[in-house]
Symmetry: C2
Subunit: 115 residues, 2 copies
């Protein structure tokens, strides 16, 4: 099983092209979107994502200290964000480099009623 995942969320881009404020969400749309927002519903993951976004790309080993969490915990949170499609990881030698997926953030902005 590879480190790159995010399987059941691939249909997310096709779903939900209209803002949440326009029409009621279907159960299917909600079931796909909720995990993405739930991934952002943790303070450690929010800070982690902002670190990745601010640095452009960042190695896992540079997250442990600023977040004040153990290595397994960091690995857990990067996995959750990756499964939500919010970040992607690329292996370079011994290091794992993470980058944000701007499209996913834009999709959430659209969901929240952006023009």
């Amino acid at each position: 099983m590879p480190a790159r995942l995010a399987q059941p969320l691939d249909r997310l881009d096709e779903l939900c092209c209209s803002p949440l404020t326009d029409a009621p969400l279907s159960p299917t749309e909600a079931a796909v979107l909720a995990p993405v927002l739930a991934a952002l519903g943790d303070p450690v993951r929010l800070r982690l994502l902002s670190l990745v976004a601010a640095r452009g790309e960042i190695c896992s080993c540079h997250l442990e200290k600023p977040l004040g969490k153990s290595q397994p915990t960091i690995s857990h949170h990067t996995r959750v964000l990756a499964e939500a499609g919010l970040i992607v990881g690329e292996r370079r030698g011994k290091w794992m480099w993470w980058t944000v997926v701007p499209d996913r953030l834009a999709l959430l902005r659209r969901l929240l009623g952006g023009a």
Copy 2:
């Protein structure tokens, strides 16, 4: 204790005026913002919010059937969304009417890097 709450989140509007993609979030900002996003991280609450937004305002008794949940569960979810500051409730006679708070959605859009 009144039905209107959202106490610890009142400082939210002062905090976090810059997008998540610009600079790393402080632990305090993350601790305030994460519960708001966590409130959206549930499919039932996402659909509930979209129902409120689409109708403009809606009574609690009109949420039970379309969401397919029991009355206590609906009450629980409206409470969570209200504590997150995403909706507000107003009592009219026997009924409770809910409305969205557009500022909170706009704040989240800004957080997600919107222009």
